[in-house]
């Protein structure tokens, strides 16, 4: 049964840079780009990998969508190189800190414009802010069900068989389509590295570009954002390290004192 899959991806600052090189602009309340590369959020790549594997089994089509600045084209080219079928770039031309709800609203408008779909896959959260709300909000906007923290997707009797991670283990869910899934990482969905030829070909494939106006959303409202969510402060926590030696004549005495100090320190925390 061919599945019509939409994967939403986000481009972020490479979270793998050495922590020493990481800086924040407290005033703008955002990370400073510095020498960091822009990369596709890893969980989004896990989602794309999951979609690719599903398509390899069931057939169908994968459309990748991203809402972002000009540079987002890179992330979409990479998705095409990984063998997504089509890519759509919704240009963010000036919304500085898109909140998860406005992102979900924009993505939902784009998905409605595309027409039919069976399943939308997103990363469980992004490696920059780690809010993890977009999938749920998108499902709400689209009026379909959502399943979160999924690490495996298979075709079931009349829908999809999902395996989702929980705090205590995992759950198996039988879901009917259409639906929205947020994907988490697992050994089965390590994103593939694209092949050289496909990287080169990706630059010859069409890439659809839409503006907010093309989507028929109220661009001014989107740019203004939703105010349920605000970053109040942004800082890099300072780690304070105090090293204390406990003394005592015997091992027992030292252990006793050590335990005592642990109780005092943790008690005051």
């Amino acid at each position: 049964m061919p599945v019509n899959i939409i994967v939403c991806v986000k481009q972020i600052l490479d979270p793998e840079i050495p922590s020493r090189d990481f800086r924040v602009d407290a005033e703008q309340r955002e990370a400073v780009r510095g020498a960091a590369n822009l990369v596709t959020n890893i969980f989004c790549e896990n989602a794309l990998e999951t979609a690719l594997q599903l398509k390899e089994k069931s057939g169908g089509k994968i459309t990748v969508i991203s809402y972002g600045a000009d540079s987002t084209e890179d992330a979409l080219r990479k998705a095409l190189a990984m063998k997504a079928d089509a890519a759509i770039h919704i240009l963010n031309d000036g919304q500085a800190h898109p909140d998860p709800l406005s992102v979900a609203q924009v993505l939902a408008a784009a998905i409605r414009k595309l027409g039919e779909f069976d399943v939308v896959m997103l990363g469980r959260e992004s490696g920059d802010w780690g809010v993890g709300q977009t999938a749920g909000l998108l499902a709400e906007e689209l009026g379909v069900a959502a399943v979160a923290f999924v690490d495996k997707v298979e075709i079931g009797a009349d829908g999809l068989q999902l395996k989702r991670q929980t705090d205590v283990g995992y759950e198996r869910v039988a879901a009917t389509m259409p639906l929205v899934i947020s994907i988490t990482n697992d050994e089965h969905n390590v994103p593939r590295i694209p092949k050289t030829r496909d990287v080169m070909m990706s630059f010859r494939q069409p890439l659809t570009k839409w503006t907010l106006e093309d989507l028929g959303v109220n661009a001014a409202e989107v740019r203004a954002g939703n105010h349920y969510y605000a970053v109040v402060d942004l800082f890099i926590p300072v780690q304070e390290l105090n090293c204390e030696f406990v003394d005592g004549d015997t091992l027992e005495a030292r252990v006793e004192k050590f335990a005592q100090r642990i109780i005092e320190v943790t008690g005051s925390m």
Binding site: P18, R77, K78, I193, P194, T196
Partner: protein, 380 residues
Amino acid sequence: MDYTLSEEQEQLRRLVEEFVGRDAKPYLDKHGREDFPWPLFRKLGELGLAAIPFPLAYGGGGLDYRCYALVLEELSRLGTALGSALAVHGLPQLILAKFGNEEQKQKYLPAMARAELLGAFALTEPHAGSDAQAIKTRAELRGDSYVLNGQKIWITHGGEADVYLVMAVTEKGLGAKGISAFIVEKGAPGLSFGKRERPMGLPHHTREVFFDDCVIPQANLVGNAGDGFKVAMTALDSGRITIAATSIGLAQQALDYALSYTLERTAFGKHIAEFQGIQFMLADMAAAVEAARCVMRKAAYLRDSGLPFNLEASMAKLLATDAAMKVTTDAVQIYGGYGTSEDYPVQELMREAKISQIVEGTNQIQRMVIARELLKKLRQ
């Protein structure tokens, strides 16, 4: 000529960066450099990286030397282990693509592009290194076979490779004009290998190769009889760009390690990056790497444009490998005592850098080539 990477090239670079970070580095950290890294070589084939500049019609990437050099540079941030394997694999591929007949191309190139077959290039002999015309390995035509007798040394991928491009003398007394190029497949009767040589840092897997009445079909002659020296030198001209590229990747890695160490290590109450003596070293290292990279890219650009590039390729090989030696030595210096420890990465890069000053024409030989080209122009 453009000094920045195009978007395609940047994506290609990232592909290699991902492969290095995700597959190659963990593999080499776990398995070391003792055995040939077969899984990584096969993966290069899967990713389409094992035949970047060779023709699409035979399964190659059909890309230019600038892309090839970029891939080798990025791959060699690991040290040259994989980069030089790819560069050496490229020599027989280049020879077959340029001088091979249709049948030979069909038989070997697609499988080499998929990394199902590994290639080797066998020129050097115990008594003929720089003076490659002095090789003694004989190939005699008997019926419809050639029979090879002799010995090669320092053959990268010796014993591992499936396809050997071997230079041997078909007509004595003619010097360079008496040498011919042959394909010898692993398993040919009379072909055997010595034990693994142990070049410092172990980036190359080299062995002696012995031919003891080694019989190969006459059809394995590549190009015409007597063309072998030209064939070998043509391959090495392009090979020099690849050695330059691997050395630049290695040097850049050493520089990056050194740079971040200067902000970690403190002495006399400050980061060692605060000392001008260290800063000047870093500046010279960065300048050397960048200069070598520019000349290497120029050589690649000339080659891609169908212009003569020998002079620049030799300059690139000379400058890049000397830069790599200097930069890696200084990186060890900046790490101080820790730099000499096998628990830190820079000493390994330094040992590998030394090898690149010697292979594919020592840097003395590069100077000879450069001078010869200069004087040739003057005399014309």
